[in-house]
């Protein structure tokens, strides 16, 4: 059966995505630990397909203000990655990295923005490298675009752009333990269905 949207994924395909999520999160934790010069533990990431409304609710409701980092995928795989940082995680990054407490994430200076963009870059590259090294596919990513706003408004961007792909996204819930506190971040992956089919076929998974 052809895959038309993410509802059509079977349990084996979901397992593959989960495993890619695991490897990506592992890579990401290693890179983050290097950047922040601190020990980072990771929990097993939760990977599932959700529709946009579920994503927005999961991320604290439409009006919750978050940091959104948008990365586009090009090359053999096309699609979009949206990395969502809650205020607590953004604060953890800046305080661990250069000792600055963020009182209000709507008032980030250039340094904060570039630090958070770098985190987005690292996270996106970690997942993409996991996929590329397992499949042999060539995947390029763009520099992250940055936005701090209501999560509903941020998620409208992929919802609109991928309206023809369907209402579902691949949602990865990562838990990191940095020094003494546990923080969460979320990677949202919206591949074109052709790209996802190619990815599965490279891994020998039936589509």
């Amino acid at each position: 059966m052809a895959m038309n949207n993410l509802d059509d994924l079977n349990p084996i395909q979901m397992d593959v995505l989960r495993e890619l999520g695991n490897i990506g999160a592992g890579n990401a934790a290693t890179s983050l630990a290097g950047m922040l010069a601190s020990t980072i533990d990771i929990g097993v990431p939760v990977v599932k397909t959700l529709d946009y409304n579920e994503v927005v609710d999961f991320l604290g409701g439409p009006e919750n203000v978050v940091v959104g980092l948008l990365v586009r995928l090009k090359g053999d795989i096309s699609g979009m990655m949206m990395y969502i940082l809650q205020a607590a995680f953004a604060n953890k990054i800046t305080s661990t990295f250069y000792g600055k407490c963020l009182d209000d994430i709507t008032e980030l200076d250039e340094m904060d923005q570039s630090a958070l963009c770098e985190i987005g870059n690292i996270m996106a590259a970690s997942y993409v490298n996991a996929i590329a090294s397992l499949t042999g596919l060539t995947i390029d990513i763009t520099v992250p675009s940055f936005c701090v706003d209501m999560v509903g408004a941020i998620m409208s961007v992929p919802a609109i752009e991928f309206a023809n792909v369907g209402d579902k996204v691949i949602f990865i819930d990562d838990h990191f333990k940095i020094i003494d506190g546990e923080v969460k971040s979320n990677m949202i992956l919206i591949p074109e269905m052709d790209s996802l089919a190619l990815l599965f076929s490279k891994l020998g998974v039936e589509v």
Binding site: P62, S145, D149, M150, I154, A159, E161, A163
Partner: protein, 160 residues
Amino acid sequence: MSKTITVGISDLNIALAPDILATYALGSCVGICLYDCRSKIAGMAHIMLPWSADSRNSCDNSRRFADTGIAELANMMQSRGADFRCVTAKIAGGAQMFATTSAVFNIGERNVDAVKKVLNKFKIPIVAEETGKNFGRTVFFDAATGEMQIKSATKQTVLV
């Protein structure tokens, strides 16, 4: 006691005074508020995309698009007794959330443009507009007064 009726993404609804219509966190989507000040019938639509004809998916939700969404809202208001000779429109949203060098499109701008064309076709005058720029907006529309309130994460609340 007035109640608040929430309009989700790709959805629409109507309200009578003293109720309030609300839609949360418009990004590139556009919120269209229609109002008949005589009968105090208010309508709100939250559209995602400009034209239904551009959809690749034939079973798509018609409330998703500016043209079919506004048409359905107008019908709904008319069947409740709204007189379209005195209906006016207020619109909000259509932001560009991410500054991007990609030439993909500025969908927010295209949405606003389509909404204006459709309203013009229905001869509904736009009396207030809070569109474009780069931030999300939450919109409340009061059926008692026809006032539209726009809230955002960083800007002051606007009442039009």
